[in-house]
């Protein structure tokens, strides 16, 4: 009896979380005729036309590329700046360490969207407005604290003694980090990089404010796609959702352990 109940509840939960995703994918593949036909709930046939038009005529491909570039730059800069800081947080003991860590933690509760407005004015002065780099830099301020804290915990998970053994047996601190610790933290860092990528990929407010022509995908949806027929909106939503979900699917085990959930 209990098993049946569990199954029932599970099915309800699954439907609750899965249906919007499934439905928008279906909607994006629904031919326009069927969509506006009131007697058809689900389409009889599927089409890739909307996705194709979105990419080709409505600038969807451009916007997607922009999103990829922005996200790529954001995680690039974040890791470049963040890894040394994460290393120092984990491996060194020094005055003010806790204050720095707390400070970085606090920036995570910073409402990043409000930086959009002043940054736009600043960017206009330095010719960064409506550039992908400008958006990437803004996104970095959101991603960087996350990268520092996550990398710090990942590096911390690899015992310092492995590195010290490397140092004893002939490596400098840096070489020991690169040749011994790095291979061990790479999987975890890669998973966090993917999550950070998605953070930037999904960000809409700042991206929309800072750009006019070079829009990322969500900013583009906010603008152009809203004036387009419904099925284009769904195509855009699908394009935004599906890659992110695929990424998360492949890194789900790491993400779970990142959040402290054991999967015994």
């Amino acid at each position: 009896m209990k098993k049946v109940l569990i199954l029932l509840v599970s099915v309800v939960i699954a439907i609750w979380f899965l249906s919007p995703v499934v439905l928008i994918v279906i909607s994006s593949l629904t031919p326009s005729g069927e969509y506006y036909n009131p007697s058809r709930i689900l389409p009889r046939s599927l089409t890739l036309d909307h996705l194709r038009s979105l990419f080709v005529t409505l600038g969807g491909w451009r916007a997607t590329l922009n999103s990829v570039q922005v996200a790529g730059m954001s995680i690039g800069i974040s890791f470049l700046f963040g890894l040394p800081a994460a290393y120092a947080l984990t491996r060194f003991v020094f005055r003010g360490k806790n204050a720095i860590r707390l400070g970085i933690l606090l920036t995570r509760s910073f409402p990043v969207l409000i930086i959009g407005i002043p940054l736009l004015i600043l960017y206009m002065r330095v010719n960064l407005s409506d550039t992908l780099l400008g958006v990437a830099l803004a996104h970095t301020s959101m991603v960087l604290p996350f990268v520092v804290l996550i990398s710090s915990s990942i590096i911390g998970g690899v015992s310092v003694e492995y590195e010290e053994a490397g140092m004893i047996f002939g490596l400098s601190r840096f070489a020991s980090f690169m040749r011994i610790t790095m291979p061990l933290v790479l999987p975890g860092l890669a998973a966090s990089a993917i999550f950070a990528f998605i953070m930037s990929w999904n960000e809409v407010f700042v991206a929309a404010i800072l750009t006019v022509g070079n829009r990322t995908l969500p900013a583009h949806i906010l603008n152009a796609a809203m004036n387009a027929p419904d099925y284009f909106k769904f195509a855009a939503g699908t394009i935004m959702a599906v890659p992110a979900m695929i990424f998360i699917f492949f890194t789900r085990k790491y993400l779970m352990s990142l959040w402290g959930i054991s999967l015994k």
Binding site: I24, I114, I121, I198, I261
Partner: protein, 284 residues
């Protein structure tokens, strides 16, 4: 760990700190400056939106949405976490399904809602086909604000509950099994176990989830803008409107300032509560 004296460790942080000063510190200060810069009077920007009452409307909606959505998320997430933690066969699969919204942006979630609630959306199609209505039911648009409000609420709950769920599940798993086993030996009922053992231990995790979610609830933007534009105004939406459509950075910054101040207050409360918990813990 190595103890480091002198300036070396701080060098590792210079890029990060410099970056955050430029891209978080400076904008924060600028937001202040912009908000209070006006051609005639310092509070001019605020007066502009208070006189028309629009800021109160936005504030009201932002508060209302947050007040409903955050507690709902907490309760649902707790229920989900308790359910999953029973570790029945196949729970992993369900766990991954619940995590799906974590990958989604508010834009995608809004569009998903749209595909369901739009005039040609699934709900209307089902209702039409079942004969329960002759004309489509409108959930969005002028005059339908109360319906739109609830669509927004449902969408937000759907989208963000998994975030809270993940935090609570992690907290739940850290509950030492021996406490629960002792409770079993003493004959506690399921409900009592929940109230007296699990919830108290979960308190820090739930508190942290509560504060984080409240912070972000005040920044709600994509869902309301995409589904209702300015019909359901929220603080971030108004900021976007004044910046990108009215090209008035000063008024936009005023809204930004309100959001910033609310965030600061919430973070401060969080710190105080956290600090007092540490003191409590130390004393105990």
């Amino acid at each position: 760990m190595t103890y480091k004296k002198g300036v070396t460790p701080y060098l590792y942080f210079i890029p990060v700190i410099a970056f955050l000063i430029v891209f978080l510190g400076y904008p924060l200060i600028e937001t202040f400056r912009l908000a209070f810069t006006h051609s005639t009077e310092p509070l001019g920007n605020f007066l502009r939106v208070t006189r028309t009452g629009e800021i109160w409307k936005a504030l009201k909606y932002t508060l209302a949405i947050s007040a409903i959505v955050v507690p709902a998320q907490l309760v649902l997430a707790l229920a989900l976490a308790l359910f999953i933690n029973m570790r029945f066969k196949g729970y992993l699969f369900l766990l991954y399904i619940i995590s799906i919204p974590l990958a989604l942006s508010d834009v995608s979630a809004a569009l998903m809602s749209y595909s369901i609630f739009s005039p040609s959306g699934y709900i209307n199609k089902i209702l039409l086909n079942l004969g329960l209505t002759d004309t489509p039911i409108y959930f969005f648009g002028r005059g339908f604000e109360s319906r739109a409000f609830w669509v927004i609420v449902i969408t937000e709950i759907w989208r963000a509950t998994p975030l809270v769920f993940v935090i609570i599940l992690a907290g739940l798993q850290s509950v030492n099994k021996e406490y629960l086993e002792a409770a079993d030996v003493f004959g506690f009922s399921r409900w009592t176990k929940l109230r007296k053992i699990i919830l108290p231990i979960l308190k820090p995790a739930m508190l942290s989830a509560l504060l984080i979610r409240t912070l972000f609830a005040f920044q709600i933007f994509g869902v309301t803008w995409l589904l209702t534009g300015r019909d359901i105004p929220v603080l971030a939406g108004e900021a976007y409107y004044w910046q990108s459509i009215r090209f008035n950075s000063n008024v936009a910054a005023s809204y930004g300032l309100v959001i910033a101040i609310v965030s600061i207050i919430i973070s401060w409360i969080y710190l105080v509560v956290l600090r007092s918990k540490e003191v409590e813990g130390a004393r105990a």
